[in-house]
């Protein structure tokens, strides 16, 4: 079953390029490991929450808000989609995801993906991964 692992962490302006590179390398290593095991489906980092736009449709109006849906200390910073045997396996991978910058701890929320019948989105995702 596919699980989406949502990474929530504190956005930190004062991260040095060296630290950024370190975190990125840790993510790359993890993606490669998941790839070798054949369970990697997708993963991406997101631009900071300051770039977010929240959209809500009310009648005919499209209402826009500058910023994320919820103003919280931790913001959605990226995601993984992994095809795991069960929740325990997903938890194991979640525990390996680097979430913190400069010691501020982050969180990973695991959400099982609701599969739709008909086509197989799992396979469709593979193309996106290689891009």
């Amino acid at each position: 079953m596919r699980y989406m692992l949502l990474i929530y962490s504190r956005e930190n302006e004062s991260v040095t390029p060296g630290e950024m590179a370190e975190v990125a390398a840790a993510h790359r290593a993890l993606m490669e490991e998941a790839g070798r095991r054949g369970i990697f489906r997708a993963a991406d980092p997101l631009q900071p929450a300051s770039t977010a736009t929240t959209v809500r449709v009310q009648g005919r109006d499209v209402l826009l808000t500058d910023g994320p849906f919820a103003e919280t200390k931790e913001q959605l910073a990226g995601y993984y989609i992994l095809d795991c045997e069960d929740l325990d396996e997903a938890i194991e991978w979640a525990a390996k995801i680097p979430t913190s910058c400069q010691g501020a701890p982050g969180y990973v929320e695991i959400r099982p993906i609701r599969e739709m019948s008909g086509h197989s989105p799992a396979n469709a995702d593979v193309h996106a991964v290689n891009g």
């Binding site: 079953m1 045997e85 069960d86 929740l87 695991i110 099982p112 609701r114 019948s117």
Partner: protein, 415 residues
């Protein structure tokens, strides 16, 4: 008919945990397994009128398995029809019966324990699910025991089962590296169930007794299925040694009887014997933990013929270890009380006041109750009364309140 009903109920109590574990193992569906088992028991009420089968448990198991096969077929048909809809809920996806019954029913029960006590479920859900599926308690019984509305509990159970299904919480004994942590979660759930039943507070005392019996039964099952785990043995011992005092800790008028005033002749000797044997066996395995230490403390109490014979030095030493292994306000408090008993109330009060200095225990009724007891022993009556009153203001437990009031009255009369 009433006879038959009570026979069927007795089989349910004794066997439902085993039977449901086997059915869930086959179908991986809590709901279908429960439905099949309920129907099998209902069928027993009709079929057994002409005479009981030789092996009632085997009869129920066979009947429930037949029902389960029917239900799985029914689900599959329903799903084929629902396929026109674009969405499919995962709960009805891929139901296949696992007819491979090579794994024994004991294995199935162990897997079920770990699933029900999975840390991805919240604690309340773990407790409710464990009691409902493994303990064979009904939803109304559990709701009564925990003083929550039946609908709340039913929702809690539905949500938990749904999460197991849809997030795919595995049905297995955890692998070695995860085992210590997961076993800890199972032990914590059983301990919680026991405490809920043991704490003499409000609610139906019969149901509470039932909770203790269930917790002891489940802990015993855990010790049988995974033998030689010191903390599981310690946990079972702890429960047995506490439960042995159950009949003497609340007087006829509902008053709490402190340990030193309990009638030790009425402590349950069978439970004490088993508890002592278990503590000794656990400690010999040389991997001491919090449950074993608590059991050892209970064992020292159990070994004292009279309250005056209690080896408080030993108890204080055990609490000191417990403070290191499992620091908490209650443990630190009990350590101070044990020191007061072995070294004198002044030494105990010195420790207590040290604990209370930061103010963190100001709203903790046991802190004030313990302080009050020591002050009373030191004949500092005004301070003792004030501390008892502070404790009284902090607890809603009727039994505890009566005890505190009695102490306040005694102090007033002794002036």
């Amino acid at each position: 008919m009433d006879d038959l009903r009570s026979t069927v109920e007795a089989v349910f109590r004794r066997e439902s945990g085993r039977i449901i574990a086997g059915l869930i193992g086959m179908s991986r569906s809590f709901d279908l397994a429960e439905e099949a088992m309920q129907d099998a028991f209902t069928a027993a009420l009709i079929h057994w009128q002409d005479g009981l089968p030789d092996n009632p448990s085997a009869w129920i198991t066979a009947a429930a398995q037949r029902k389960l096969v029917d239900y799985v077929r029914r689900e599959q048909t329903r799903r084929t029809k629902a396929d026109q809809l674009r969405y499919e809920t995962t709960s009805t996806k891929n139901i296949e019966l696992d007819h491979d019954m090579t794994s024994s029913r004991e294995d199935e029960r162990l897997k079920l324990i770990f699933t029900c006590c999975h840390p991805a479920l919240n604690k309340e859900a773990q407790v409710a699910l464990t009691l409902r599926t493994l303990g064979g308690l009904t939803t109304p019984e559990i709701a009564r025991a925990f003083l929550i509305p039946e609908t709340t509990l039913a929702q809690r159970l539905v949500r938990a089962k749904r999460k197991i299904q849809e997030a795919r919480i595995p049905y297995q004994v955890p692998p070695k590296d995860a085992l210590p942590q997961r076993l800890g979660a199972v032990q914590a759930v059983l301990y919680l169930i026991f405490n809920e039943g043991y704490t003499a507070s409000m609610g139906d005392s019969l149901v509470r007794r039932e909770l203790c019996a269930e917790a002891i039964g489940l802990a015993r099952t855990l010790c049988e299925l995974m033998p030689n785990v010191p903390e599981s043995m310690g946990l079972l011992a702890l429960m047995l040694l506490h439960d042995s005092r159950r009949d003497t800790r609340v007087a006829g008028n509902g008053e709490l009887v402190p340990l030193e005033e309990q009638d030790r002749m009425r402590w349950n000797a069978v439970q004490i014997k088993e508890g002592l044997r278990l503590v000794e066996a656990a400690l010999r395995l040389r991997n001491v933990g919090a449950y074993q230490l608590q059991a050892a403390i209970a064992a020292v109490h159990a070994g004292a013929k009279t309250a005056a014979d209690t080896d408080w030095k030993q108890i204080a030493a055990l609490y000191q270890e417990l403070v290191k292994a499992h620091p908490s306000a209650t443990v630190a408090l009990n350590h101070a009380v044990a020191v007061a008993m072995s070294e004198g109330p002044a030494e105990g009060l010195f420790l207590l006041d040290g604990l209370g200095a930061c103010g963190a225990l100001d709203d903790y009724y046991l802190y004030h109750a313990a302080r009050a007891d020591l002050l009373r022993r030191m004949q500092r009556k005004t301070e003792a009364t004030a501390a008892y009153q502070r404790a009284l203001a902090l607890t809603a437990n009727a039994v505890e309140r009566r005890y505190l009031r009695r102490r306040i009255d005694e102090l007033a009369n002794s002036c």
